[in-house]
């Protein structure tokens, strides 16, 4: 009986040591990271969160559904459903319309008054320009989030089809 107890205690201690020894190892890739990798990184906030990463964290915690990303469309919703092991569903209408083709913002430069409001609004630093100087969208960097449109006091920003992929 005593031998049995001692054996178990020794083994349990070993197991404990092993667990503690490995506790310091790098963490697994977090679920939020894996979700974030599937999102289109438009940072448009249509999902009601402050960007793609916050939305990913919300999904990981179960605080958001998988169908809140209009820019990602059906593909993203499907990929998320697969990752999370839930049945796929279409993007919710309340989050906006799924765009047919990618678009980028364009500043009509004659009208721009150089107020820098759009620069502050851009989540990915894709607009350049200084105060009281005309601003320009770097088309290659624009994600098409449309966050720069509402702040513009002179409504000089329009969405245009994204330039074709050059390869």
């Amino acid at each position: 009986m005593i031998t049995a107890l001692v054996t178990i205690i020794i083994l349990a201690a070993l197991a404990g040591v092993a667990t503690v020894a490995t506790a310091g190892a790098p963490k697994e890739i977090s679920l939020a990271d894996r979700i974030d990798a599937l999102l289109p990184q438009t940072q448009c906030r249509r999902c009601t969160f402050a960007g793609c990463r916050p939305y990913a964290e919300a999904i990981a915690q179960g605080a958001a559904d998988i169908n809140q990303c209009p820019p990602g469309g059906e593909r993203t919703a499907k990929a998320l459903a697969r990752l999370m092991g839930v049945p796929p569903k279409p993007v919710g209408k309340e989050f906006g319309v799924v765009p047919d083709s990618p678009a980028v913002a364009f500043i009509e430069e004659d009208a721009c008054i150089g107020c820098t409001k759009c620069i502050q609004a851009c989540p990915v630093d894709a607009i350049v320009g200084a105060s009281r100087h005309m601003h320009t969208v770097i088309a290659a960097d624009c994600t098409g989030c449309e966050l720069c449109i509402p702040p513009c006091p002179v409504d000089c920003i329009v969405m245009r089809p994204a330039p074709a992929v050059v390869r």
């Binding site: 289109p40 990184q41 793609c52 990915v124 630093d125 894709a126 960097d141 390869r167």
Partner: protein, 486 residues
């Protein structure tokens, strides 16, 4: 034949060239109007130098290249510019594209271009390239890539090896074959000019093993030129042996990197027709205003090869061939494997028009009913890019970008060999043609998403840092007020 050549994939298919090569090259009849699309070469459209109602002379430059990759355009006839407006064009599948329309006055008054005729040995290679550009020379194999741009991008220290492509592998097309038969000397002259322009050590002229007359004529011309740098290489008549990358593999036993150009392995490839056009420009002062066009198929009364001025309507060429037969069913520009199918013949001949097939149901039997793929692998046996079309097809539905990228969808050259041998009659080439841009876009979206994420993170960090600095400053400003009390 080396083992390498045997393994290179591809097909031996019925060439259908006898009908159009019976007669010698004839001049196509002139018409009243010539339509010159400004974007008939690869790259950017040319910029017009004339305006409506201007008088132009034959061979006069009418459009200059836009900055970047582009080419000169010249008037094929003398007459009057009557419009610069969108007109249907064959290389745009019949969609309208901005074109210069010239009314022919029938007098063929030449534009006197004093600088046109040069002795190429007297000028530097760079000047030779520029000179070739001014002749409006583009690749006549079908892609119409501006030759001068290609030469400039191919320049390397010891000079690239020159490969002249006379392997006309697509069925029906015979314009290069008759050119080699009848104008072999032009080709050799052009080859020497190109050798000079490229500082190239040698030139290989590739010709298929099923055109003995053209081979003989070419050999004679090469012997006559007595230029030790030029040699002839006979390649097996396998479709698509004449594709640039496939021909390089056959001739040099080297592969062009998938993300590179032939110049990366020290080779520059030009069509024999291009060499002949260079000869005419340098020797005779005639810019690229006409080319040989094969008109063939069961849908025309008489097949043949026609020296055709650029801008001539298809309908006029068809009339030269005796008009359509009652069996005529489809009109194709190019060969039967990669050509484009056109809805009508009111389209101008462009620099890329190597062949017009007026096809009857006999030429092109309708495809059978599409069945599921049975993975027989015939397609992978013939694929010149060594792909597995059966696997690509499997991963298209639903679209699996990871697997498609692994299996090399973007390396597909759309030659149609897989379609040709598919027992299930699946239009593979069409599917791949449609899927390639989707995959490219998706791979690109991944890259730009990563970039956007990085910028988003950087911005958030910057904002957080600014916020922290701002707070620190505020705290510092408050401190003097607080100090006395403490």
């Amino acid at each position: 034949m080396t083992a390498r050549e045997l393994l290179a994939g591809g097909l031996r298919i019925e060439a259908h060239k006898q009908r159009s090569t019976k007669a010698p090259i004839r001049a196509a009849s002139l018409t009243e109007r010539y339509v010159i699309p400004l974007d008939q070469h690869s790259g950017l459209p040319a910029v017009p130098l004339v305006k409506p109602s201007d008088r132009v002379r034959m061979w006069q430059p009418i459009a200059q290249p836009a900055p970047g990759i582009s080419a000169w355009l010249h008037s094929p006839v003398s007459g009057e510019v009557i419009a610069i407006e969108p007109r249907p064009a064959p290389h745009r599948l019949g969609a309208p594209t901005l074109s210069i329309v010239i009314a022919n006055d029938g007098r063929d008054r030449r534009f006197e271009n004093a600088a046109a005729i040069v002795s190429f040995e007297q000028i530097s290679p760079n000047e030779a390239c520029e000179h070739i550009a001014r002749g409006g020379i583009v690749g006549l194999g079908g892609a119409a890539f501006p030759t001068a741009n290609k030469l400039e991008s191919s320049l390397c220290e010891n000079g690239p090896q020159l490969l002249l492509n006379g392997a006309e592998c697509e069925p029906y097309i015979s314009c290069d074959e008759v050119l080699m038969r009848e104008r072999a000397e032009d080709i050799v002259f052009g080859a020497r000019a190109l050798l000079h322009a490229l500082c190239s050590p040698n030139c290989t002229i590739a010709i298929e093993d099923d055109v003995p007359e053209a081979q003989a004529a070419l050999r004679q011309a090469v012997d006559k030129a007595a230029d030790p740098r030029i040699r002839i290489k006979v390649v097996p008549a396998i479709y698509p042996a004449g594709g640039e990358r496939q021909l390089i593999a056959t001739v040099f036993d080297a592969e062009v990197p998938h993300d590179g150009l032939p110049a990366d392995i020290g080779v520059v490839c030009q069509n024999v027709g291009t060499a002949a056009a260079i000869a005419r420009w340098i020797r005779d002062g005639q810019p690229l205003v006409s080319r040989i066009v094969t008109v063939t198929g069961d849908g025309v009364s008489e097949a043949g090869n026609w020296e055709t001025r650029i801008g001539t309507p298809f309908s006029s060429l068809i009339a030269d061939c005796g008009g359509y037969t009652e069996r005529m069913s489809r009109l194709i520009m190019g060969g039967s494997m990669m050509g484009t199918s056109l809805a009508h013949d009111d389209l101008p001949v462009v620099k890329a028009t190597n062949c017009i097939i007026a096809a009857s149901a006999l030429d092109l039997q309708p495809r059978g009913l599409e069945m599921p793929c049975i993975r027989c692998g015939n397609c992978s046996q013939v694929c010149p890019a060594f792909l597995l079309p059966q696997q690509l097809h499997w991963y298209l539905q639903p679209f699996d970008s990871d697997q498609l990228a692994r299996h090399g969808l973007l390396d597909c050259i759309e030659c149609g060999c897989c379609d040709y041998v598919c027992p299930s009659q699946i239009p593979l080439a069409e599917r791949f043609r449609e899927a390639k841009p989707l995959l490219a876009r998706e791979l690109d979206a991944h890259l730009s998403a990563d970039a956007a994420r990085a910028r988003f993170v950087a911005r958030n960090e910057r904002l957080a840092r600014l916020e922290a600095e701002h707070r620190a400053k505020l705290a510092q400003k408050r401190r003097p007020k607080n100090e006395p009390t403490s």
